[in-house]
Symmetry: C2
Subunit: 628 residues, 2 copies
């Protein structure tokens, strides 16, 4: 690990995105998702399933007041993942065990928006929620409404399942985002107080536990970065060091003895330093790996970094869908085995691709290999964007690569694959995660270190750093790129060149770099180790994956083939290609084979992320190829 | 419905199978399966999971004695599908709710074997078990050990889930088989006494219920056929008439009100006469449809027969695997929607194909269409035979068409698909069902009515009827068929001619019919409505499906293709064909498509039923085709 090569992202406040496509997406999030979720958190949306999120904070405040007044406080059981009005006392906590994180993610996204463009109303809304959050915090810094409301004596007794450290992670990320946006420390301080409690609870002398759902590792590093407080980094490392050690902490916690196989779900079956494969719940996985990368960079921990590299290779080479989706099965929302990438049974949670982006961003900070931001692009332009409808009002949680609405309706195995985006989810992790990622996009375009500025993503934008002002103008239709640079001191500008590397430009003054990187549609094949895709191809332009939708190509997409010589015709919004529809050979279920007849047709491909915006219909990414 | 065309099977005692292949199979069942199960029922096999079957009968006898002696009898809960030593009192019933049926199926098969060839030891073993069964029967005829042991007051209170009427069905079939074999009425009488209780319990004036797991409809018809007792037929009809009526009996029983969707599993969502599609649990389905066909024939019920015909068409045209397997999903072991026939997720329970054979046999008795026995052949030579290992010592419950051992091990979705046959199952429905089907094969080869004898299956055998002695000599290698007929009076011999029909031969004396029906291997395509099989074919010879196994063709069967001009070479045990192995194009997960290169190879196909006899390895029925 060569720390001279380390880079860091550039603060969101220094970057201005001028690209129309992304400006529209960011504004859509600001206009639709953030205000909608603001109301959803307080259960002010008629007809929507209740969130209970703010209600829980208000209940926690009442408990907190009683405690401070020395009054007796009721207890309720903490024994479920989800509490609703049918299975818990009306005065108890409601919603999912991780319900608090919803408001934290909302504040984090709001912080990013306030950084980009100040908005009084949004600021006031955030202040209102921050006020409630801080009032709910216990004297000792503890802050998780499930346990505050239901049972103060049970805190940190079920790290495996009940998400206190997960909620803390999102609290810390929200605190950092809001502090960066406004300079106001209130929420950041609350996060630090909870962090202090966590640091004094989890250490060599006290509890040797670690979170069941990771995130607090990378969140503690963020707190360390912004406060300089060493113990936050040390506690993050402690969680990594303890994870997967024998005897298993989760065994001790549950008073049992297992072989650890069930902790594969939590990536806690072996020590992270010994892990070399992405396993278990995909979101948890990539959150852990992101934290590992963060820690290995800051502590120059080569062993931990080597594990990160092995895990990265396993994902990128064997467990990642062409769309940047990860998680091949609904069972445990999990990674499966190498090359198991079924199109029609995929899980590919939006949040998992967001987590994969986090992991890639952190790996690039350690070594600026082009493949990391190539994967960021792949995940961003396909699975992440696909997560949100054109109008920002509905969302996919699962992003399969082949959808047949009849199967989603009647096949238990495909019930998780929705043929249309859903308005909101009771387990609403993806929409706010998507909101925070898109809102903070500006901070990932450029990385820097003392000698260099890296252009990771070709997105029209401007950045001001100590070394230079840089402006990218990129026209994705013509492929023309102009990069204007005004250096304040000599430095090297490094521009990512696809997957292959970064091209260097030594700059010591004012300069304009002209490039043309026009992407052409291509037929892409998948490794022959992926059983599902033999004889099939996908269409891509750069890292943008295309798909066929029934709305354009008629029903029964499985009857279509693309020519190996497709003569692509690019249009504004779609691509035409030479293809075929296999004619029906005979009535009946089984009959003697004759070489099929094919009708020549034009296939119409649209970007994958745009699918499902025209009602319920079939979609496929992969199509059989006919060699000509 | 034209009752002049009705046919009936010929008693097993009149038919002698001379065919080596089938004689070996029947002897294998007699030598391996029957003796093994005899011991299994009494838990005398070391290391095997306990059956508890005979133990339950002994407990029931003790209860019965106490009742007769006027002593107080303990009660235990009846609240589960399965009772083992961990979740029930040691003195209570153990095993599955349908555990009694295991000994009934064993006796039924034993009866068939005693019919074919008397065996003193087997007879004595059967007598021993029959003695126990009859001793356990309550004074009023009731006979189900779960309720006798656990709670006499609760009988017939959970028809939906707890299988009393199902166990009765197998008791009746055992009673009939043993009576036919030996002329001894003891078990038959016990079945009739239980049937009498059922008839007086379920009728217009009393309980309007019906079984959750069908079989007793066809079993009551068997009792009617052998005893001539009208009420048995009437009660069978009553079950059909009540099934699916609103308000749902299962709702009443459970004191709830539903829209009936959950009763699709039991085919009880609408009245059988209104059903036109095969739905729900596949075994239950085909058992119901068999009963419906039985009743419609005997009562000349055109409406019911029409429903049978519609359901048959739905299965044969849209829901049957090429192997005669049915049930496309593990969820509810069920039928799904039309043309949903995934190869690698199939359920295709051995018992379901046996039930499909029952249904086809009964449909053929009403109208001798060749397609019925063509389906019998398809199910028999593929899914049924595949259920048992070459040595008769291990069994498949599930018969998928594509098996990748790694997936079976690591993919939750494919956990039900075992890559090797299992020694025995705690839910041991398939092995004894297979035993009784194979043992009784002789009775299905020929059907007759007053004017005709039908040859349904080309299996070397001899039959003696009132009309004639017939002998078939069939050499499957050469395709030569000789049928010797010695008529006692003039009649028409009808020989099935593939799927297309029966060829008639008018015979009034002694005659020899010479045919050649040599089957050649063919490439078979599946309807384009089946998404999974586009671009793929299977190899069949007659109704025998062939498959590729890793043991012969190397790993990664998905890389293989068959030529559209395969130039089949037939060997004793296998078929060679021209094919290709797709060469690896590039390292990496995603890359630009180039027309692949192929290595020419010889593919080696073996009969599907023989797969999995050489250890754990990959298998596939469908293979991609390369048009040349």
């Amino acid at each position: 690990m060569d720390n001279k090569k380390f880079t860091r992202h550039i603060d969101l406040s220094r970057v201005k995105i001028t690209d129309n496509f992304w400006r529209d997406k960011i504004e859509l999030v600001c206009r639709e998702v953030i205000p909608y979720q603001y109301l959803a958190l307080s259960d002010k949306i008629e007809g929507a399933e209740k969130s209970y999120c703010i209600e829980n904070f208000k209940k926690a405040i009442a408990v907190n007041k009683k405690i401070k007044a020395g009054q007796k406080v009721e207890k309720f059981p903490v024994d479920k993942w989800h509490y609703d009005e049918s299975n818990s006392d009306i005065n108890a906590f409601h919603g999912w065990v991780f319900q608090d994180s919803d408001v934290y993610k909302w504040i984090e996204a709001a912080g990013f928006h306030l950084t980009i463009k100040y908005d009084e109303k949004l600021k006031a809304q955030a202040d209102e929620y921050i006020e409630l959050i801080c009032e709910a915090q216990l004297e000792n810094g503890y802050l998780d409404t499930l346990y505050i409301i239901n049972d103060r004596d049970k805190v940190f007794t079920n790290l495996k399942d009940y998400h206190e450290l997960y909620c803390f992670g999102h609290l810390a990320e929200a605190g950092v985002s809001f502090f960066n946006a406004t300079g106001e420390r209130k929420l950041l301080d609350a996060a630090c107080r909870f962090a202090d409690l966590i640091c004094s609870t989890f250490n060599e002398e006290n509890i040797h536990g670690y979170p069941g759902h990771e995130i607090c590792e990378m969140a503690l590093v963020k707190l360390y970065d912004v406060t300089g407080e060493e113990k936050y980094l040390k506690t993050a490392e402690f969680f990594i060091n303890e994870r997967g050690k024998k005897p298993y902490y989760f065994d001790i916690e549950r008073n049992t003895e297992t072989d650890g196989k069930e902790y594969i779900y939590n990536q806690a079956h072996i020590e992270p330093r010994k892990q070399d494969e992405a396993v278990g719940h995909a979101v948890r996985g990539v959150y852990l790996y992101s934290g590992m990368a963060d820690i290995s960079k800051r502590l120059k921990d080569d062993e931990l970094y080597l594990a990160c590299k092995k895990i990265w290779r396993n994902i990128a080479d064997k467990k990642m869908y062409i769309t940047g989706g990860i998680g091949s099965t609904v069972h445990g929302e999990a990674f499966t085995y190498d090359y198991d990438l079924p199109n029609d049974l995929a899980y590919c949670e939006t949040c998992a691709s967001i987590g994969l982006i986090f992991f890639a961003q952190r790996m690039a900070e350690i070594e600026q290999k082009a493949e990391y931001f190539s994967v960021v692009e792949r995940a961003l332009y396909n699975t992440v964007l696909s997560g949100m409808a054109k109008d920002g009002k509905s969302f996919f949680y699962v992003n399969a690569l082949e959808v047949f609405p009849k199967a989603s309706k009647f096949d238990e195995r495909k019930k998780h694959i929705k043929p249309v985006r859903q308005k909101w989810f009771s387990c609403a992790c993806c929409p706010p995660n998507l909101a925070r990622l898109i809102s903070s996009l500006g901070s990932y375009i450029y990385y820097e270190n003392d000698e260099e500025i890296y252009v990771n993503l070709l997105i029209s934008s401007k950045v001001k750093t100590d070394k230079a002002d840089v402006e990218i103008q990129y026209n994705s239709s013509s492929g023309d790129v102009k990069i204007y640079v005004k250096a304040k001191k000599a430095f090297t500008l490094k521009v990512r060149n696809g997957e292959h590397g970064y091209t260097s430009y030594y700059i010591n003054n004012e300069d304009t770099i002209n490039l043309n990187i026009r992407q052409k549609p291509k037929l892409i094949k998948c490794s022959e180790n992926v059983r599902e895709n033999m004889g099939k191809v996908a269409v891509m332009k750069g890292n943008m994956v295309y798909c066929l939708e029934q709305a354009d190509n008629g029903f029964d997409l499985h009857r279509l083939l693309i020519s190996s010589n497709p003569e692509f015709e690019e249009r504004d919004d779609y691509i035409l290609a030479n293809g075929f529809r296999e004619k029906e050979s005979e009535k009946g279920l089984y009959f003697e084979y004759k070489v099929p007849e094919y009708e020549r047709i034009k296939l119409r491909f649209i970007p994958y992320y745009k699918w499902g915006n025209r009602g319920e219909n079939e979609m496929t990414v992969y199509i059989r190829v006919k060699n000509e």
